[in-house]
C-alpha cells in the first residue's frame, strides 16, 4: 500500500532500477524504446519520485531557505514573491521562515535550514552578527537581500540606499525646501545608509545647518510618534524624509489628524515604493526599488554559486529611482 518506488517501476518495465533513475533524471544516453517503456510503467503505477531519497543520495536538496523579517511589510512580501517565482522556475523549492522580531527565532530558523541541508540561504532583512553570517556561510552559500550585514564573503543584493536618500533630499531641495527633517529607521536594515545619505546630501546642498534626525524605526507607529514629536515643536519642518513608506503613512496620518495638510503644510517622501504608496489616498512621493526583481536576482546569484561554481562573493547594487506623487510640493 505504500507508494510505488523506482524498484516497482523497474520491475513493471522490465529494466533495472538504475535505468529508471536515468530516465527520471532525463539523462541523454537512454534508448527511446526503453525510455518510453519506463515512462509508461511509471505513469501506470502512479509513480512519484521521492525527493527525500533523491536528496539523500545526491546530496542536493534543490531547496533554498528564505528568512524574512516581517511579512506584513509589503517590501518583504514582494521580495518573497520574486524569490519564489525565480526559484520555482529554476526547479528549486523554497523553505520559508520568519523571524518574529526576536533574534533567537532567527537563529533557530537558520538552524533548521542547515539541518534540512538547504542548498542556499537568502536573508531578507534580519540583522546577524558578522560571526553568525560567516558561520552559516561556511556551511552553505548565503545571500543577503536588502540588508546591510554583508561583507563577510557572502553575496548580497541591495539598492543603493545612500543614493536613494540623496534623490529624496535633492527632490525636496529642488522644490525649495530647506528645513528637511529625516525620521530614521533606527537599527533596521538599511537605516544607517539612508540616514547617512540624507546627511551627506544635505551637506552637499549647503543645508548642513538644517540636518535634523528624529529616531524611529520601520513601523507605522513610529511614524505617528515622530509626528507627535514634530508637533510639539515651536515650528514644523517644511518637509520630512521618512525612512520607509509605512512609517511615512503613519506620519501623514497623525499629521492629518492634527489638521496639518500634506503637502500644503509639510511635504513627505517615503522609501520603498511599496504597494500602498501608490494608493490614491496616500499618493506618496517615494524612492522606488525593484523589489521583486531584486528577489529574482538574488536567486540567480545564489544558483550561480550553488551550481555555477562561483566562489568569490558578488555584491549587486541596484539603482533606486524617485517616484513623484502628490505628497510633495514647494513650501508655502
Amino acid at each position: 500500500m505504500s507508494p510505488p518506488t523506482m524498484e516497482d517501476v523497474a520491475r513493471a518495465a522490465g529494466v533495472s532500477r538504475a535505468l529508471v533513475s536515468l530516465v527520471m533524471r532525463q539523462a541523454p544516453n537512454v534508448s527511446d524504446e526503453r525510455r518510453a517503456r519506463v515512462i509508461a510503467a511509471a505513469e501506470e503505477l502512479g509513480y512519484r519520485p521521492n525527493a527525500v531519497a533523491r536528496s539523500l543520495a545526491s546530496r542536493r536538496t534543490h531547496t533554498i531557505g528564505v528568512l524574512l523579517n516581517d511579512l506584513h511589510n509589503p517590501f518583504f512580501a514582494d521580495s518573497a514573491d520574486g524569490i519564489i517565482e525565480e526559484a520555482s522556475s529554476a526547479g528549486y523549492q523554497v523553505l520559508m521562515a520568519t523571524g518574529t522580531h526576536v533574534n533567537q527565532s532567527h537563529t533557530a530558523a537558520i538552524e533548521s535550514f542547515l539541518n534540512a541541508r538547504v542548498d542556499g540561504i537568502i536573508l531578507v532583512g534580519p540583522r546577524f552578527t558578522p560571526e553568525q553570517i560567516s558561520d552559516m556561510a561556511s556551511h552553505v552559500p548565503v545571500l543577503t537581500l536588502g540588508s546591510s550585514s554583508d561583507g563577510h564573503g557572502v553575496d548580497s543584493v541591495k539598492n543603493d540606499e545612500y543614493r536613494g536618500a540623496c534623490l529624496a533630499v535633492e527632490h525636496l531641495a529642488g522644490l525649495g525646501h530647506t528645513r528637511i527633517t529625516h525620521v530614521s529607521g533606527g537599527r533596521g536594515a538599511g537605516a544607517d545608509s539612508r540616514r547617512q545619505g540624507y546627511a551627506r546630501a544635505m551637506a552637499d546642498l549647503g543645508l548642513a545647518d538644517h540636518v535634523d534626525v528624529v529616531v524611529g524605526d520601520f513601523t507605522e507607529e513610529s511614524g505617528a510618534e515622530a509626528a507627535d514629536e514634530l508637533l510639539k515643536r515651536a515650528e514644523l519642518p517644511t518637509a520630512v524624509f521618512s525612512a520607509n513608506d509605512i512609517q511615512a503613512a503613519g506620519l501623514m496620518g497623525r499629521l492629518a489628524e492634527a489638521g496639518i495638510g500634506v503637502p500644503e503644510m509639510v511635504s513627505v517622501v517615503g522609501y520603498d515604493d511599496t504597494t500602498f504608496a501608490g494608493l490614491y489616498q496616500l499618493s506618496l512621493t517615494t524612492i522606488h526599488q525593484p523589489v521583486a526583481e531584486m528577489g529574482r536576482q538574488s536567486v540567480r546569484s545564489l544558483l550561480d554559486r550553488m551550481v555555477g561554481g562561483r566562489t568569490e562573493p558578488r555584491k549587486l547594487v541596484i539603482e533606486p529611482s524617485l517616484v513623484v506623487r502628490r505628497s510633495t510640493a514647494p513650501p508655502r
Copy 2:
C-alpha cells in the same frame, strides 16, 4: 571533510549509533551519563543531524506545504505569517509556493509538494477542482484556508463570508442607505458567498429591488473599473459594498479623482480588514476576519490530523466582525 555523521559522534562518544539516535530524539530511556557523553561529543564535532536522512528513514518530513494565491494581497501575507509562526513553534517547516494566477503553476507546486513528501498541505485561496483536491488529499492531509473549494474530505478554515456580507449590508442599511451596490469578487475565493450574503441581506431588509451587482475581482484595478462603470450611470448608488479591501481602495481612489467624496456622496465598505484599511487616509469601514489566527488554526487542525490521528474532516468557521471607520456615513 564532509560534515560529521551520527557514526562519527558514536565513535567519539564510545557508544553505538543507535544510542546517539536515541539521544538526538530525546528518547527517555537513556542513562544520564551516556546522554551527557553523547551530547558532549556531538557538540565537540559540531554535529548537525541530517534532516533529510531522518525524513527518509522515519517517513515523516516535518514539513508542510503552503500554496498561496498572491502574496501581494496583505490577506495572504497575514495568513502566511500565522501559518509559519504556528508551524515553527510545533517544530515544522514550511515549504512555500505561490501560484502565479495560472492554474498550471498551482498543480506544479502541488506536484513538488508531493514529491517532497510533505506531511500536510495548506491551500490558501487557489481554486482547484474537487477531483484535484481529493486526489491530493488521498496522498496527504489537506486543508483549505479561506477558500470555498472544500467539502471533499479535507479540512477547512474560513470565515463566514455570508455572515460578513450581511454585517456590511446591515450596517449600511442601518445608516439609512437603500441603494447599495455590490462589486463582486468574480471567481475568486469566497466571492460567491459574499455576493449571496449581500443578496440575501438585501432581501431580508426589504431591499430586494435595489440589488445591484457589478462584476469585478479581488484587485485594485477592478475597483477602479467598477467606479468608472458607476460613474457612467445617470445616478450613483449611495453606498457600495466592495468584495475586498484592495478593490475598495481602487474604487475610492477613482471616485475621489472624479470628485466624488467618500463618505459624503458614497459610503464604502470593504472586506478583510487588511493592514491598509486602517490607514488614516483610507479609514475604510470593513469586515474583519482574524487572518493570522486563522492561519494558526489551520496548522493546528492539520497537525491534529497528521499526528493526532483524526480522520474525519473538520470545518472551522470563524465569525467575522464589522469594523466601522470613516468611509461610511448616512446618505445625504
